[in-house]
Symmetry: C2
Subunit: 182 residues, 2 copies
Amino acid sequence: MSLSHSILGFLSYQSMTGYDLAKAFSSSVRFFWYAQTSQIYLELNKLEKKEFVTWEIIIQTEKPSKKLYSITQKGKEEFFVWLSQENDEFSKGNKNAFLMKVFFSGCRPPKECITMLSDFINDCSHYQDEMQQIPDSIGHYGGLVDQEQKLYWQLSADFGYSYIHMCIDWARRSIKKLEELT
Amino acid sequence: MSLSHSILGFLSYQSMTGYDLAKAFSSSVRFFWYAQTSQIYLELNKLEKKEFVTWEIIIQTEKPSKKLYSITQKGKEEFFVWLSQENDEFSKGNKNAFLMKVFFSGCRPPKECITMLSDFINDCSHYQDEMQQIPDSIGHYGGLVDQEQKLYWQLSADFGYSYIHMCIDWARRSIKKLEELT
DNA sequence: AGGCTCATGTAACCGGTTACATGATTAT
DNA sequence: ATAATCATGTAACCGGTTACATGAGCCT
């Protein structure tokens, strides 16, 4: 369970509403953890039951009222335990339907796989563009934290850039190999 | 749902038992789709209900009897529909708990993150070694299919190699950046 | 007798998705 | 009016995990 822990992570920066959290997710970590708004509200309820967060109603005059969630001491402890836990990224959790299709593409004309790979490159490029905006939005939230925190944000974003770059390179190489077939 | 479709993919090569499928998965596609043995049996039942597969009991003298599954015409059609469907790999399905930890590591000493990244590199190397064995096991199954099919297997494996190489490079760069902090 | 490979499942659970549902306030 | 933004949820579903359970036949 990583969504709940990353919610705790964001709340450790400052208190936030479910709506704020949804925006924070989509403007920073969505390239490695896309979180649905509805799911965030569900997780907040679960975290409340575990006493990792509390909330208070904030009445606003110009906007609808909102529930401002804060992390508890218990929540902070849970967060730090999670942070220092070992994780095995490579043995589990990699589900790549696209690669599965590549794997099984021997039964159809090479041209179809080339098209699929071209589409993939387009998706990559599109995603690359979207990711360019992430540093801006991180800058927007950047006021909350010190310079050192930003370095870690940068590291995770670098992974994203490197990954997408690798994907494009691989797809181009693959297309070349398939074109040699014909 | 990609597990069920990749089961159909394997069955399109030849008829297999659940046990065979589990071995085929773990010796070929496990680096981008780890499948539990029990899950494979569950999926086979579902595929049977949808009339995508049929089975017959094979009585063996030296070994326990087994259920040999075969793909039906309906199953083949379903498989090809899946193959030619568009997929958006980048907007969904990327859940990376490790990157989440990197993202939130600003609140702890850089040394701890460096350790985490070193462990990550070790995991990568270990995984890299495991992946070296995949071409051999693909060769073992290779008798089933023609040379062209093998190219696609190679492409998907190349993705794996490139990915892991990228991971190691990124982790090394990140460690350097963190060491500059101290 | 003990361990290995071969072989097949069931049950409880869980994180996450999809779709649906609602309502306040502000700006045009 | 009506669209956009702000704001919060529920219900049904689903793919996959974890843990458990069983048993045949072979080898030493």
